[in-house]
């Protein structure tokens, strides 16, 4: 091998290493930048968790399976969550609008003192047709794979999780998702805004 040919080979190898490094850097940088909270939920298409939780309003407990046969909209909220206040009117209006149409809304108080959650409902408006529950030990949040709130899940009449909204929802999105389930379609997952993971999360 002559010196020239050897130098040429080394140069090609060096460029190949540089090119590979760049490709690796780009790919891994894009992977590291992805937010797992925005990844598709593995729960979509799976049976909804069967949870029994204490009621926030009233006494006793309630299970999601109590509403089998209905479309169930499960919303995680808390008194410390600003975005939950933004979406609250739409949830109450939709719950009341669809109450007689086989759609049941369930509000689950997430990482919140029950007294604070009740005050939140008194301030923002209370839906007579919504079942409000307490997420003791974060069992529901873990079972639904919640990263932050508000998050809203849609369960079809067969008990399958078919949709998820990340962030504060609105009346149109709620209505569109319910319509899609009625047509036998999956509303899928959407992000509508910010979420908060805890009371100190700005």
């Amino acid at each position: 091998m002559t010196a020239t040919r050897r130098a040429s080979g080394l140069k090609i190898t060096a460029w190949a290493v540089v090119a590979l490094s760049v490709v690796l850097a780009v790919v891994f940088a894009s992977r590291f930048g992805s937010d797992p909270a925005l990844s598709e939920s593995p729960l979509i298409g799976q049976p909804a968790p069967d949870l029994t939780l204490p009621r926030l309003t009233g006494s006793g407990e309630a299970s999601l399976s109590d509403y089998a046969g209905d479309i169930v909209v499960v919303n995680f909220f808390a008194s410390w969550c600003l975005e939950c206040r933004l979406e609250h009117d739409a949830l109450v209006a939709a719950a009341d609008s669809f109450a007689d149409a086989g759609v049941r809304f369930v509000g689950i108080s997430y990482q919140d003192d029950p007294i604070d959650s009740l005050e939140f409902l008194e301030e923002e408006g209370f839906s007579e047709t919504t079942e409000y529950l307490i997420d003791e030990g974060s069992r529901a949040a873990v079972a639904f794979g919640v990263f932050g709130i508000p998050e809203t899940f849609f369960i079809d009449p067969e008990g399958t999780v078919v949709g998820r909204i990340i962030g504060p929802t609105d009346a149109l999105t709620l209505g569109g998702a319910i319509d899609a389930i009625r047509r036998g379609e999956d509303p899928g997952e959407k992000r509508l805004g910010n979420t908060r993971s805890g009371p100190g999360d700005a």
């Binding site: 091998m1 190898t13 739409a90 030990g137 990263f147 149109l172 509508l192």
Partner: protein, 403 residues
């Protein structure tokens, strides 16, 4: 020159020692690190918790996070294990509804192939490079020794010829010549033996073509492994519509007329309410259900939250419906004039005003004047322009409007 064979061979061996030593030291160090950091499969809640990233924190395992959510997850782990769940069952109980990326030791899957496979590819590339460099070094040192041995052979042969010449000319006596010849011949035999040893030595270089082929193949295979794994991971995980959750805006088109009507009824104070009303009114209008569209247009036209464009659209529709449905020319002209005030650059209310003046009031010249003003705007669509030009021509000709 005489003791060069062994002496020259020794430095080559010494030169090869650092490479071997470095290799052994590196491998030993890696082994020590592996042994030191080896952990048996986690089976306590704390150990399993150290493998799970807290979903509401930044890069902290749930075993170390003070977040209430993380503490609750740890409690779930402890409860599951206390009830006899296996390690995997306990992990599933906590992470079953979360994406796999929360596991700090992600399992081997299509999306994590690059993570696990790139080091393997890099190892093959490294081996290829190391082989190339080592062969190159061996090539150099061995060829140098061989060249020196051949040089010595030539020198010995020259010395022998010179000795024969000196003996023939009587410069040296027979006894001394024999003694020297024996010495040269011994050296000759020794050099030949050294050459044979070089040729059969374990470090003897392979044919260069073979060396290059082996090193090149290792490089290509390694590079291919890396590229395929990286490309595969990128294809599996690229953030397109098939993966991940996209930001979306509320879209009235995804909602049925009945649902949209229910939503509007329940959200009178919603900031987007006029957009929803207008969307529903337009749907009814396009379906020819003017009666259903009327109240929504009316609400938008009289709303103080509607944008000028929304209000103008509603007024324009109401104006045309007042004329075409009820023959109310004055009402229609009043509504269209209000629309024109809101959107002076929009020629559509003006065109309808021209039609109402021409067709409803029978004033062809007023209609023609409106059409001429319409044509001074950029109408965009050529078909629309042709329609207005046809109306203008008919109005100027004094034809009766049938619309």
């Amino acid at each position: 020159m005489r003791d060069g064979t062994v002496a020259e061979r020794t430095p080559a061996v010494i030169r090869s020692i650092p490479w071997s030593v470095i290799s052994i030291v590196v491998m030993a160090a890696a082994l020590v690190v592996l042994i030191a950091t080896y952990r048996p499969p986690a089976d306590t809640a704390e150990e399993i918790g150290s493998l799970i990233r807290c979903p509401v924190c930044q890069g902290v395992p749930i075993s170390e996070s003070p977040a209430p959510m993380a503490r609750d997850m740890m409690e779930i782990l402890r409860r599951e294990l206390a009830e006899g769940a296996s390690r995997q069952e306990a992990i599933d109980a906590v992470l079953g509804a979360y994406p796999g990326s929360l596991l700090l030791e992600p399992p081997v899957s299509a999306s994590t192939l690059a993570l696990w496979g790139v080091p393997l590819g890099a190892l093959v590339v490294g081996l290829g490079l190391a082989l190339t460099l080592r062969r190159s070094r061996l090539d150099t040192s061995t060829l140098l020794e061989e060249a020196e041995a051949r040089q010595r052979l030539e020198q010995i042969r020259a010395d022998l010829e010179e000795l024969a010449a000196q003996q023939a000319s009587g410069e040296i006596d027979a006894e001394a010549a024999r003694h020297l010849r024996e010495g040269y011949e011994a050296e000759l035999a020794e050099t030949h033996a050294a050459l044979r040893q070089l040729a059969s030595a374990p470090d003897a270089p392979l044919p260069r073509s073979t060396t290059r082929a082996v090193a090149g193949a290792a490089l290509v295979v390694g590079a291919l492994v890396v590229v395929v794994l990286v490309a595969g991971a990128f294809i599996v995980d690229r953030p397109d519509q098939s993966s991940g959750v996209a930001d979306v805006a509320a879209d009235p088109s995804s909602v049925s007329n009945e649902t949209l009507a229910a939503v509007i009824a329940a959200n009178e104070d919603h900031p987007q309410i006029d957009g929803m009303r207008l969307a529903l009114a337009e749907r009814y209008y396009e379906e020819g259900d003017f009666q259903s569209s009327f109240p929504y247009y009316f609400d938008v036209a009289s709303s103080d939250k509607a944008t000028p464009a929304q209000a103008a659209t509603a007024l324009t529709r109401l104006g045309w419906m007042a004329y075409s449905g009820n023959g109310e020319v004055d009402t229609a002209l009043d509504l269209l004039a209000q629309a024109r005030e809101l959107v002076p650059d929009d020629p559509f209310p003006l065109y309808l005003e021209g039609l109402v003046r021409w067709c409803g009031r029978g004033d062809a010249s007023a209609g023609a004047e409106a059409f001429r003003q319409v044509l001074s705007h950029d109408l965009g669509d050529e078909t629309v322009r042709q329609q207005v030009e046809a109306d203008l021509a008919a109005a100027e000709a004094g034809e009766t409007c049938e619309r």
